[in-house]
């Protein structure tokens, strides 16, 4: 069986869910005839028709608003942001309308909002964002950031079946760069559960999305020096799997958080606080972070490389922490 790319895994998840449930529809800019800017929805229009694969004007607020309305009527819409940076245009609809709906009047919003996020592809300040933390700070949303093809497919299926608004951040750097053999059955991956990707005893590296791969590369390097890093893939940022993080820190006694999001207000700060509150006595060193710089994502390749975390940067900080 041929290996499936991360991108194809996302396409398969939408295809299979739409095949399974006529309540699932796709709405967004250029998702139909063109098949999406990254071809994530290629073939969906041909299979499911105009009523279920809906091309829209360039109106992100209206796309999300309409998806909310559809979900009130009992559908399970998937709304696409062509690049996740444009989610800022729909911020109000997501944070005030969708997120608060169930809490304030008991109306669930079973909507998925997905799109390509992340840097490393020279997209510049407006096609490279990692906007997850705006939304992790918004009760009522779920925020999912898959790092593998298997998770992309299984988590997207879970997101579509979830009764809450789920933001599904696909990392575009991974779209065609990673692939794996996927099970043939209708599998799902649960939202809210982290995964231990590599076991180790000397320190814990917590990461997600593209930076999981940087962290795993770093861990392989560190192993050559005799440092065994345990690598955790968060997979979901909201709700956060505190237990898996704490269990690992209690074992390794050291914590490094690696994320591509900018530093201030990134998830590393929240994880550090959780560990301080619940595992302070277990720590044998300071909680460390490797993150992007506190700047917009720059365009020139050299600047972007400088901006982003890399396996070498992770190795350097992990080594310091291991020897602390």
């Amino acid at each position: 069986m041929p290996e499936t790319t991360y991108l194809e895994a996302i396409r398969q998840a939408m295809f299979e869910e739409m095949d399974r449930d006529p309540a699932v529809v796709l709405i967004g800019e250029d998702v139909g005839v063109y098949g999406g800017a990254f071809k994530t929805s290629e073939g969906l229009l041909a299979r499911f028709g105009w009523e279920r694969v809906i091309d829209t004007p360039i109106s992100e607020s209206a796309i999300v608003g309409a998806a909310i309305g559809m979900s009130y009527a009992g559908l399970r819409p998937i709304a696409e942001m062509q690049f996740i940076d444009f989610i800022a245009c729909a911020f109000e609809m997501i944070t005030n309308f969708a997120a608060k709906s169930h809490y304030r009047w008991g109306a669930p919003v079973p909507m998925v909002l997905r799109g390509p996020s992340g840097g490393g592809v020279h997209g510049g300040p407006f096609h490279s964002a990692n906007p997850e933390m705006y939304f992790v700070h918004t009760p009522g949303l779920k925020v999912v950031c898959p790092a593998t093809a298997r998770d992309a497919k299984g988590l997207l299926k879970s997101a579509i079946r979830d009764n809450n608004p789920v933001l599904f951040f696909e990392h575009k750097f991974l779209y065609r760069r990673i692939k794996e053999n996927l099970p043939a059955d209708d599998f799902t991956v649960p939202i809210g559960k982290a995964a231990v990707r590599r076991e180790g005893r000397d320190l814990t590296i917590v990461s997600y999305a593209a930076m999981l791969h940087a962290s795993l590369e770093a861990a392989a390097e560190l192993a050559k020096e005799g440092i065994e890093a345990e690598v955790i893939d968060l997979r979901t940022l909201l709700p956060l799997d505190r237990e898996t993080i704490l269990a690992s820190v209690r074992k390794t006694n050291k914590l490094l958080v690696v994320h591509e999001d900018t530093r201030t207000g990134g998830i590393a700060g929240e994880i550090a606080a959780i560990v301080m509150e619940s595992a302070f006595e277990d720590l044998d060193g300071p909680v460390r972070r490797v993150t992007s710089l506190d700047t917009p994502v720059p365009y020139a390749p050299g600047l972007e490389q400088y901006f982003l975390p890399s396996p070498a940067k992770v190795v350097a900080v992990a080594r310091e922490l291991a020897h602390y």
């Binding site: 739409m18 095949d19 006529p22 309540a23 529809v25 139909g32 005839v33 063109y34 098949g35 229009l45 041909a46 299979r47 499911f48 028709g49 105009w50 009523e51 279920r52 809906i54 829209t56 004007p57 109106s59 607020s61 209206a62 796309i63 999300v64 608003g65 309409a66 998806a67 909310i68 309305g69 559809m70 979900s71 009130y72 009527a73 009992g74 559908l75 399970r76 819409p77 109000e92 609809m93 005030n96 309308f97 608060k100 709906s101 169930h102 809490y103 304030r104 009047w105 008991g106 109306a107 669930p108 079973p110 009760p139 009522g140 779920k142 009764n163 809450n164």
Partner: protein, 391 residues
């Protein structure tokens, strides 16, 4: 203005108009007694819009009332106690104290979407419900309201354009009450008729005297049937006047007294009562019966609200997520066999027509604009409204 409504329907309209007004007067008393926890946003003088528009819909249609559309909630079957307990933050309120004012709804039976404070958001949401309804084979129409101030938001324009290109069965009522908090409509828009905004989006529109409940009802009914037939959305601008401040705390001293006086002469309840009398649809006894019924209902509901408990504090933590508490079910009104298994044979190419003609259209030659003849003013909407109102 002709109407096809029966005598009973006329009396029902009066009931809702009067209930709307009496309920809000009762709420003011509760506010002065410090029993309203937050703000109280009056719709005095605008009742004919809330009641007349909602009355024109069918039971399967969906509405999203805004803050001043208490009357629409009442038409839809909510009771005074729902409005009171909401404002008084009681556990018995439709949101159990989680939200206040008219921010409540009922997805399942009444098809009422709870508004939010950010204006314009409901437009794409209601367009989405209309699109879902069409897909599900429901033949529904959706409706929401927006003020002259709310019509300045970006999402108003995104949403209306979106509804237009999707040909959503959606009716938008622009409730032009002349004031957005302290800002007059002249500072919201350079247009004389806000209804003209619809033209920019290829949306059918109408202007109606918002203080004439029969005109509002009839215009809305026509719009609803146009939208239901699949012709796309309709925008109705209902011209009216906010007769009190933005909310209870606002004395509205910025409003010219003469303006209030002028509009007071056009009070929607006074006018409708006159119609009922002139048409001999009621007598003093009928009016008294309805008024007494309303007084009884409000008294009973005040008692209910005042005796209702506040929510237990720890319930603040509940309900952020739907974890199995709701079943998501679409109301399919078309055979699912039409859709399952999917067997579409759409070719990924737009079936555009007349593109050759569009492309070949010669550029328009610009003519110098003819000078306006002195002394001849274009027909003004305000004049039209006055004409319709018989003035």
């Amino acid at each position: 203005m002709t109407t096809t409504l029966t005598r009973e329907q006329h009396l029902e309209l009066y009931y809702f108009l009067r209930l709307n007004r009496e309920l809000e007067e009762q709420m003011v008393r509760l506010f002065r007694q410090n029993k309203i926890v937050g703000g109280l946003y009056p719709s005095l003088g605008q009742e004919a819009i809330s009641v007349g528009t909602a009355y024109a819909l069918g039971p399967g249609d969906w509405i999203a009332p805004m803050i001043r559309n208490i009357g629409a909630l009442l038409v839809r079957g909510f009771k005074p106690r729902d409005v009171m307990t909401q404002h008084m933050a009681r556990y018995t309120s439709p949101t159990c104290g989680k939200d206040g004012t008219s921010h409540f709804g009922d997805l399942k039976s009444r098809h009422v979407i709870s508004p939010i404070s950010m204006l314009g958001d409901l437009i794409p949401v209601m367009a989405g419900i209309a699109m879902a309804g069409r897909y599900l084979g429901q033949k529904i129409v959706t409706m929401t309201w927006i003020g002259d101030g709310g019509a300045s938001t970006g999402v108003f324009h995104e949403g209306l354009n979106f509804a237009a290109v999707q040909k959503a069965a959606f009716v938008l009522i622009v409730e032009n009450n002349q004031w957005a908090y302290s800002t007059p409509v002249e500072k919201q828009s350079a247009l004389r008729d806000l209804a003209d905004r619809a033209k920019a989006y290829g949306v059918k529109s109408a202007v109606v005297d918002g203080n004439d409940v029969l005109a509002v009802e009839r215009t809305t009914r026509e719009a609803v049937s146009y939208a239901r037939a699949g012709n796309g959305p309709v925008l109705i601008e209902a011209k009216t006047m906010r007769m009190l401040g933005h909310a209870q705390h606002d004395a509205a001293e910025y409003v010219p007294k003469a303006m209030l006086e002028a509009w007071k002469q056009r009070d929607p309840l006074d006018r409708f009562e006159k119609v009922l009398t002139e048409k001999k649809l009621w007598d003093a006894k009928t009016k008294k019966e309805i008024d007494e019924r309303i007084a009884r209902e409000i008294r009973a509901d005040v008692e209910f609200a005042e005796n209702s408990p506040f929510p237990p504090p720890e319930s603040a933590e509940e309900g952020v997520y739907c974890e199995g508490c709701h079943t998501i079910e679409a109301d399919w009104q078309r055979p699912k066999e039409e859709l399952m298994p999917p067997r579409s044979s759409v070719k990924a190419e737009w079936p555009l027509k007349n593109f050759a003609a569009n492309g070949a259209r010669p550029p328009a030659v610009r003519q110098p604009a003819p000078k306006a003849k002195p002394g001849k003013k274009p027909a003004r909407a305000a004049a039209r409204v006055r004409a319709k109102a018989g003035r």
